[in-house]
Amino acid sequence: MRFQRLPSIGAGVMILARVAAVAAALLTGGLAFALAGFDVPELAGAVISASLGTAFGLEDLGLLATPLILTGLAAAVCLRIGLWNIGGEGQFYAGAIIASLVGLQLQGPPALMLPLMALAGFAGGMAWILLPALARAYLAIDEIITTLLLNFVAVLLVNYLCTGPMRDPHQAVTAASAHVPYEIPAMIDDLHLGLAVAVLLVVLAALALGRTGWGFEVRVAGANRHAANYAGMGVRRRLLQTMLLSGGIAGLAGMLEVAGTVHRLQGGISNNYGYLGIIVAVLAGGAPIAVLPAAALMALLLNGGIVLQSYGVSSYDVLALTGLVLLFIAVGEQLAYYRPAARPAIAPKPAPPLEHAR
């Protein structure tokens, strides 16, 4: 059997390849669990019923999906101009810091304070990516390295603030800031409006990238910088705008987590959302709308992980499972281009035995 590579494939095939890759990754993971002696069908049933079977589970899923949608969108937006924003984690923390500061230092009606905090979070994320963006645009310094390294700075900064200047004096044990008094109103029970904000942003980003002249320029610049320059598009400006937008979206995710779920600034508030967002964006193939199902799947995996821990499964196993998903998608993305070669119409002449032996 021989295979040949097709020059291009349809969007439907690409989606199918992703779905198949996720299924294959879950099956492989399941096999590993089975070998380790777990009852896989029981585990799967428990995860599904706990996450999707109850209103409580669905709300948890929504709470987990909200930051994942935004960090996923942040990475996806950057992918559209051909860049990797690995710094979603740092921008998330930066957004959380600035939003908390505003919420703790200023006072006003919630209807004013919440939008102000959102703007502050967005600005925090933008500020955190500003240096990598300038370095990329003017000095062609690899954004993968710079955005990644700033994550560690942000984590240490949050830890410093929470154990130092911003530490809540009334809380003796945990290192966290004081309670931020402004809370995002709930949609249903515990599920706050942040999810709606995230979905709205996805729709806006999809429209901006897919339907505006600005988005057209971003996509052209991302796919072929020579052609963008040739067509007279301001590549550098688009690059800066796109990276800042990406950072801002990740920063907003940090603000929503503070004002919607945790209500304090504390170390580990991000829960790796920045890194998981990269997986979400890859899962979505960089398409903004596809971030929604990808983030939902990732939320299901995370929520499943929490459920599995009560069955004695390590939390690292779930991390390994997300890694498997990413690996299978990368492989599936390439395999999708291959088809079995057409059967020969005429059988090739059999070569003399001597040649066969060669």
Binding site: E217, R219, V220, A341, A345
Partner: protein
């Protein structure tokens, strides 16, 4: 004799329902030069790819050196001494010429003795009539120099049978003559046998023993190159008795220059000469051809005029006022550029044919107003109109443009750039790698633009093209304009001497 003969017998190859090759036979005698002619899509590339193991033929067989050969993969062809110089370059741009030569071998040792390798390469180079600097990264070489390096690489690898895919399309007449004479000498000495894919009838008449013409995947004719004339060959290739007529020249050049370049200088890249153009002008109803060996500043000039490179000093003006080649300015002044290697420089390979056709017009309306939202329906209609007007053959307007053939990519770029009224058209190597019919069509389009009053600056490494189209010809060498002559009655040998500088 080291050279080996190769024979293809009744070879067939299908892609889906498309018959790329249908019962094609070809015999290349040991130590001969065999030309393979035909339009793009006629099956020339498919045939040689089957022979070299990149495709597996569905039917038929190959004889190498008189014995039936199984060629399932490129390594099989390699082991038998069959090699190819591709139209698309296969050198590693970031590595030097010497490194590329050594790395191309199948038996690169784990630790390379560079001093020893250098000595071998220098000894090898001393026997070659082509001169290439060994320590320059290939990425910094001009297209012509890269092509020469490709051929040198095959000789260095001691291939005994070589396929050359349009080897002279980027060389000057003198270089082409030298290179083909060199290849001819090697075949006469029995060192190699050669299959040459070409569109140039002059080369066929001078350097080829036998030839085969393919048309739509079948053998349309062939025989001895001595007995077949250009008219007969063209008829075999396109299946019509006559080639498209030369485009008519209408309208006389205006008095005032439309494009005026004065005292233009740029910084040279990495040891190369920068531009130093005292004066260059193009008038309405005029094609000014810029001849020159590749790498003598043509690329830089096109980049300056296209806004991709900033001049160090000097001025460029269009229709009497200063011009800086920004996007809005280019649109307002109706300046259009056809870049060389259009798929790389002027198109977005991943994006659709329709998007690429709208690369210029997506953000403004027909009457020039700024548009924030894309008009998807308008873009599709516009693309459809261009596809029909320029006869672009694409699977669908939504197909990514990189799946199109070279001729169709160039048709797309032409359709986009010649849309509407054009005051100044800058064209770089518009026919590189296109077949006879597409070349005639592209040249007719450029001439038609001139006839409607467009000022055309044509930069080309194909001197025949410059001679055919230009009202006026200038020669560039080392970034300077060294010679100027009217197009009518221009002497190719004279121009060639100025190109190489003696």
């Amino acid at each position: 004799m080291k050279a080996i003969g190769v024979e293809a017998i009744a070879v067939s190859k299908r892609f889906g329902t498309f018959r790329a090759l249908d019962d094609v036979s070809l015999k290349v005698g040991a130590g001969s030069v065999h030309a393979l002619l035909g339009e793009n899509g006629a099956g020339k590339s498919t045939l040689v790819k089957c022979l070299l193991g990149y495709y597996r033929a569905d039917g038929g067989s190959f004889l190498v050196d008189g014995r039936e050969a199984t060629i399932d993969r490129p390594a099989d062809a390699d082991a038998m001494g069959l090699g190819m110089v591709y139209q698309h370059f296969t050198l590693v741009p970031s590595m030097t010429v010497a490194e590329n030569l050594v790395m191309s071998r199948a038996d690169v040792p784990a630790v390379i003795d560079w001093a020893g390798e250098r000595a071998v390469i220098e000894g090898f180079m001393a026997r070659m009539p082509l001169r290439i600097q060994l320590d320059v990264p290939v990425g910094q070489l001009a297209a012509g120099e890269r092509q020469k390096t490709e051929i040198l690489k095959q000789l260095y690898l001691q291939r005994r049978f070589l396929v050359l895919d349009e080897p002279t399309s980027v060389l000057t007449p003198q270089e082409a003559e030298e290179m083909l004479g060199f290849v001819r000498g090697l075949t006469k000495a029995g060192e190699i046998s050669v299959v040459i894919i070409t569109h140039k009838m002059k080369e066929v008449a001078r350097f080829v023993d036998d030839l085969t013409v393919l048309r739509r995947g079948r053998v349309a004719g062939g025989g001895s190159a001595r007995t077949l004339g250009p008219a007969e060959l063209t008829a075999m290739m396109i299946g019509e008795p006559q080639a498209p007529a030369d485009p008519e020249r209408r309208g006389v050049p205006g008095a005032e220059p439309l494009l005026a370049v004065v005292g233009l200088r740029t910084e040279g890249d990495l040891g190369r000469h920068g531009l130093d153009i005292a004066a260059l002008s193009v008038r309405r109803h005029e094609i000014v051809g810029i001849a020159g060996v590749s790498g003598n500043g043509q690329k830089e000039l096109v980049e300056v005029l296209g806004g991709q490179r900033r001049p160090a000093s000097g001025s460029v003006s269009v229709a009497g006022s200063a011009y800086h080649a920004g996007r809005a300015e280019a649109q307002a002044r109706r300046v259009r550029v056809l870049p060389e290697e259009p798929l790389r420089n002027g198109c977005v390979g991943r994006m659709s044919v329709a998007d690429n056709l709208n690369l210029r017009s997506f953000d403004h309306t027909a009457d020039g107003h700024q548009r924030r939202w894309l008009d998807r329906r308008g873009m599709a209609a516009r693309a459809q109109r261009m596809i029909e007007a320029f006869g672009i053959r694409a699977p669908s307007p939504q197909a990514p443009i990189r799946v199109l053939s070279g001729g169709n990519v160039q048709r797309c770029v032409l359709a986009r750039e010649l849309d509407g009224e054009v005051a100044l058209l800058i064209v770089a190597n518009p026919c590189f790698g296109l077949d006879v019919k597409a070349v005639a069509e592209v040249r007719a389009r450029i001439m038609a633009a001139r006839n409607t009053g467009t000022a055309v600056l044509l930069v080309s490494e194909d001197l025949d093209e410059i001679l055919e189209l230009s009202d006026r010809i200038v020669v560039m060498r080392q970034g300077q304009i060294v010679h100027e002559t009217p197009g009518a009655g221009a002497d190719a040998q004279e121009i060639g001497r100025h190109m190489v500088g003696h």
